[in-house]
Assembly symmetry: C2
Homo-oligomer: 391 residues x 2
């Protein structure tokens, strides 16, 4: 008796347990300061508000029952209002679909939009969770590098001019994971134009947009075209364990995803959907809460960037950390971050080598550092430990 | 811009929005007594216990964070103990995998175990949610009819003797949905033997096993072989909105499912997993709670069966309703249940025609009636309304 080899081998070739995940096991030792994680800070999550919302929700027996596959209707209404304000046009409730975190939206969309061999354009370095599902769908993946303004649209245009016909272009538009950068307004508009001109879907993957430090994120790519599929989530602003992500997309995409969702897991949890709706609808409280999260992260980010630049000077180039959860740093002195890692762990600090996010470029001299879960002194100490390991 | 036609068409051919789902929309009218649903009774769900467990869980900030892909470890421990007792051998925690309802286990298993064209044996009439995912995986589906002792294993043996080599045999072993019957102990043992002899996986899908009315369900098929993959859920004994299902399976199956789960939705909710763990671990309370649910359902089931037999006599054959949520009835007088339905709706009663669950046989004279959400008087009234519609 065996697992059916071809099917499984095919799936798993796209779904290798990520290098990040394996690394995290090594960094769980208490004496290691880990910049390798990618988790929001649980201490900043609104535990008491969630408890109060849960108590209120549980006064109604219907919150325990199965709910509709596209999500508990009250949550979809709150999200439609929220996305309408964000995108700058009325988003009908039918175009809002709640998923089990935005990872499920990526997974279901890849089934709906991609045939084996279809071309998917991703960013380089890439969000690993998206790569996984696109690879599992049998897509052909071509990476376009990031620069300080996000995805290099000139290179995307070169690909299109050369006759490439992507089915999907995936972008983490705000405060990129792992790249730290944000797609510029001019490029957002151009990407939307290209998608309409060439008939590809843009998946605008935006879990970090609310976590801005100096100024709000630019208007979404979706604000330039109703054909853009936009994903977001409460995981980074409220709590991952609500397992509430969502997608705004044209109705025919939502209906196709709905049929797949029925087969995938029937429906989400009316209980956690209702908790999320209560907190998202309380906009005054929510604004204050998110302000606390992002100003805390901003302070941590600045401490990490300052310590990094002070320790390495010209030998490193790192992003400014204008939002989100990550700083991306490139050693300019030839330091190989994968080779460095064992010495770094010995010195008591962990990060993720750039290679873990590489698609075309090897990112051998790069690393991702997460600043969300440690205070400023700890982040500074992490760099103090890393510096002699680099030598 | 269009959805990629071949991929989507392929997926959707296996995932037509089910006849049941469409029908439920028609039966939502308040004046219709619906026996067409398939929901547990929300009024019997332990709302106060869930609220207390939620409050307790939310004292710990870690309950808001991402959790492990195979499930919150505390829940897996409780489930391992529970399944060990049920199956009659020690089930290690590694062999327990928590899914987003047992529908997700079916979906992920179909990806792990099935290549396109692989043979899957299902029961006829079939659980529609399983059919959906097997069809979506491109499986070839052959149905084996049920009789009063569950799946006709003699016919399965005929298929094996004829050279058929199934990858998977799927059975709803206890209080079948929709067929109402339970697989006999002798057939359970034989099915396990056949699976080992012929190298196919058995998926024992058991959401209803605890809802027995007269005597406990027989020992699981999994008790006869460690190769049997067993699925269960809290949806029918606690609440669907916890979205907690689970699978017990050999470690290599669990690890393959784990990789797919990471791509599908990363992880479940530590909050709802912890609530489920608290309630499942309180075995004295749980036993009393389940006793209340099953004795209430038993009373309702008997009222429905009694009314049906009184109204139709020899013109109908219906199951005894020894557990679960459904009665399956066959008209012996030639009544076509699909043709009857509009008249039944006009008379103020709804059921699901057998055709909705048909794989090989048409089940044109059959219907499924759910007895969980109405009291005895209402169930009796439903049959009083149905009787003149049949004529």
């Amino acid at each position: 008796m065996s697992l059916t080899t071809p099917a499984l081998a095919g799936k798993l070739s796209g779904l290798q347990s990520s290098a990040i995940r394996d690394l995290l096991k090594l960094t769980a030792r208490a004496e290691v300061i880990s910049l390798a994680g990618g988790l929001p800070d649980a201490a900043l999550m609104p535990r008491e508000r969630i408890a109060a919302a849960a108590e209120e929700a549980l006064r109604d027996p219907s919150v325990l029952q199965y709910t509709e596959s596209p999500g508990w209707p009250g949550l979809r209404e709150v999200l439609a209002a929220r996305e309408s304000a964000r995108i700058g046009r009325a988003v009908p409730v039918e175009d809002v679909f709640v998923t089990h975190g935005s990872q499920q939206a990526l997974s279901l969309l890849s089934e709906v939009l991609l045939d084996p061999g279809a071309l998917v354009i991703v960013e380089d370095p890439a969000y690993v969770g998206a790569l996984q599902v696109f690879r599992a769908a049998g897509a052909r993946i071509v990476a376009v590098p990031l620069d300080g303004d996000g995805m290099r649209l000139d290179l995307l245009e070169d690909l299109l001019a050369a006759g490439e016909r992507p089915a999907v272009v995936h972008t983490v538009s705000n405060f990129h994971n792992p790249g730290g950068v944000t797609l510029s307004p001019a490029r957002r508009q151009r990407l939307a134009e290209l998608s309409e001109a060439h008939g590809f879907w843009v998946i605008e993957d935006d879990p970090y947009g609310e976590l801005w430090f100096d100024r709000p994120a630019p208007a979404p790519v979706a604000s330039y075209s109703p054909q853009v599929i936009r994903l977001s989530s409460v995981s980074k602003i409220l709590a991952p364990s609500l397992r509430v992500g969502w997608m705004t997309a044209p109705d025919r995409v939502c209906r196709a995803v709905e049929l797949l969702k029925q087969g995938a897991d029937l429906c989400g949890s009316a209980l956690t959907h209702r908790i999320a709706a209560t907190l998202l609808a309380d906009t005054d409280w929510l604004t204050a809460h998110i302000t606390t999260v992002r100003t805390t992260y901003a302070t941590r980010a600045r401490a990490l960037v300052t310590a990094t630049r002070a320790a390495f000077g010209d030998r490193i180039h790192c992003t400014d950390a204008t939002g989100g959860m990550f700083v991306w740093a490139d050693f300019t002195d030839g330091t190989d971050t994968a080779t460095l890692l064992p010495a770094a762990l010995d010195a008591g600090v962990a990060y993720v080598p750039g290679a873990a996010f590489a698609v075309s470029d090897a990112y051998r001299h790069s690393m991702r550092m997460c600043f969300t879960t440690a205070d400023e002194a700890t982040l500074t100490e992490a760099i103090t430990r890393l510096s002699p390991a680099v030598g």
